[in-house]
Symmetry: C2
Subunit: 304 residues, 2 copies
């Protein structure tokens, strides 16, 4: 029996998580995208985007990460049919919550299931990352691996990732209502080519402790090592009131706070995420924002 339709859910994620630039990622509970993949008698890929921020996502398969993944699969595996894709966005795109990564992860799992490709985790990560990278800039595994596998991710070389169950701790993500043209590209461009060695040492110190904290199931140790000298000081420039919002989170009891992925959202880790979120939204002043109260999801992308 051929599978004619597959529905897949993929969670959003936070990449970097402070000191772990391009290395750390964590999947988020309660926020995600759904992909409905269908066989089509027509060749090629047709995409329909619905949901949150759908107007910001191109349905042209050449400019869409799902399209990039499916076109790659068509070329490599030559299925006897085309694909219709319905993308139901639950994750606002362009905010730093792994929106494109989740759609890429969901599409990858959907097509793996439909065609019975039996891809390994590493192959899934690679395919999803290349798909995301084809439209969003350089391919990176941090968001897609977190969305695919759930939990906490330590990116390695050559699409190798380590996945760990994350302990339970509160996360609040505050998304300011600002629009940054070419955000992902701009976020990369803000970074210097070279950074002080002593700043790298601090990031190594804190990132190592965060990895250890996950292993030891210690949410407080995890949160209180969210200190980043390599990326945050530079990217803060594109987020109005960044330092005030961060300070408000810490003053409200957050263990740590930094930029979520490429921004412009901020995330904070703590116990009292409702208070922390309120304080952060207030510190954004005249800038409207949306608050997501969440926690790590140890479940990744799955057929639903």
């Amino acid at each position: 029996m051929t599978i004619k339709q597959v529905r897949v859910y993929s969670p959003g994620s936070i990449a970097n998580l402070g000191p772990g630039f391009d290395v750390f990622g964590v999947a988020l509970e309660g926020i995600g995208d759904i992909i409905v993949l269908e066989e089509s008698p027509e060749p090629g890929v047709k995409i329909d985007v619905q949901g949150v921020g759908a107007d910001k996502i191109p349905s042209d398969p050449e400019k869409n990460s799902s399209g990039a993944i499916l076109n790659h699969v068509i070329e490599k595996y030559e299925p006897r049919h085309g694909f219709n894709v319905e993308i139901r966005k639950g994750i606002p795109p362009g905010t730093g919550m792994g929106s494109s990564g989740a759609s890429a992860a969901a599409t990858t799992v959907a097509v793996n299931e439909m065609l019975g490709l039996h891809l390994s985790d590493r192959e899934l990560v690679k395919l999803a990352a290349l798909g995301e990278g084809a439209v969003a800039g350089a391919p990176h595994a941090d968001n897609v691996a977190a969305s695919l596998l759930g939990g906490f991710i330590l990116v390695g070389e050559d699409w190798d990732v380590i996945r760990l169950d994350a302990p339970r701790f509160g996360i609040v993500v505050v998304v300011p209502d600002i629009y940054i043209e070419n955000k992902t590209k701009k976020a990369r461009e803000l970074l210097p080519q070279k950074i002080p060695l002593k700043d790298a040492v601090k990031n190594i110190m804190h990132a190592s402790r965060m990895a250890l904290a996950i292993s030891q199931k210690d949410g407080k140790m995890f949160g209180s090592n969210i200190n980043d000298r390599l990326v945050e000081p530079y990217r803060a420039a594109m987020i109005p009131n960044f330092w005030d919002v961060k300070q408000a989170a810490l003053d409200a009891g957050a263990y740590g706070c930094s930029i979520s992925g490429g921004g412009p959202s901020l995330f904070a880790v703590g116990d009292n995420i409702y208070d922390i979120g309120d304080a952060m939204q207030k510190a954004f002043g005249d800038i409207e924002s949306t608050c997501y109260h969440t926690r790590p999801s140890n479940r990744g992308t799955r057929v639903i």
Copy 2:
């Protein structure tokens, strides 16, 4: 009853361990210094140095880390006696095996014991590090904390350190018979002020995995993440045949190999440390070397 004499043993250590520059340290089994601390009716500090490389260590208390520590203690706690110190070196000084750190750790524990100071671990680390730093350059906690507490050390801010039991894996340290004037200072001067951001990302990736490996008791994962882009490429210049020796270690089956502390020793992690050591010594060519076959010590400094 007053304690008139205290004998203390402190193990050697490897700092940095590849990607964890100024952050990681591990104590070593079977190699260490002994300090015999005695009350003296004379005020001040008298030091006698014996053992391996004793001629390279000044017995002038103003230029000796034990002297710096004891003078600090005399000033702060005003004991009614002075100190005689006998330093029995088992760790060759100036080789990158934490020789000065071990003597500083042993002295700190000895005086803490003799005067009943009841210092916390953090205070012990701080006192030993300041003592070592007073004569060896900037104070660093990596070697002294490993010597003091044993196991694997993750240095933090303000003399806070995390100490973990290290799993059992083989370590070989090969000490080339070369003399580098002002080695610690030179080793620091070889480092650039700024380094590429992408190199920092690689170190964060590998250092995080090493911390995780310790927590998961995985010696192979620990060793195979000994990849350093921030320090090794620059300090390699002061070690003749460095790249050949490193490659020989890897070819002989080492999981990883890098500079031990500030060098000029190299260390390698693996199962067959005798074969690995032989290969490394051979690759040093005409340069004579000494080989230490060891493993992590989960016992730190102790009264004996």
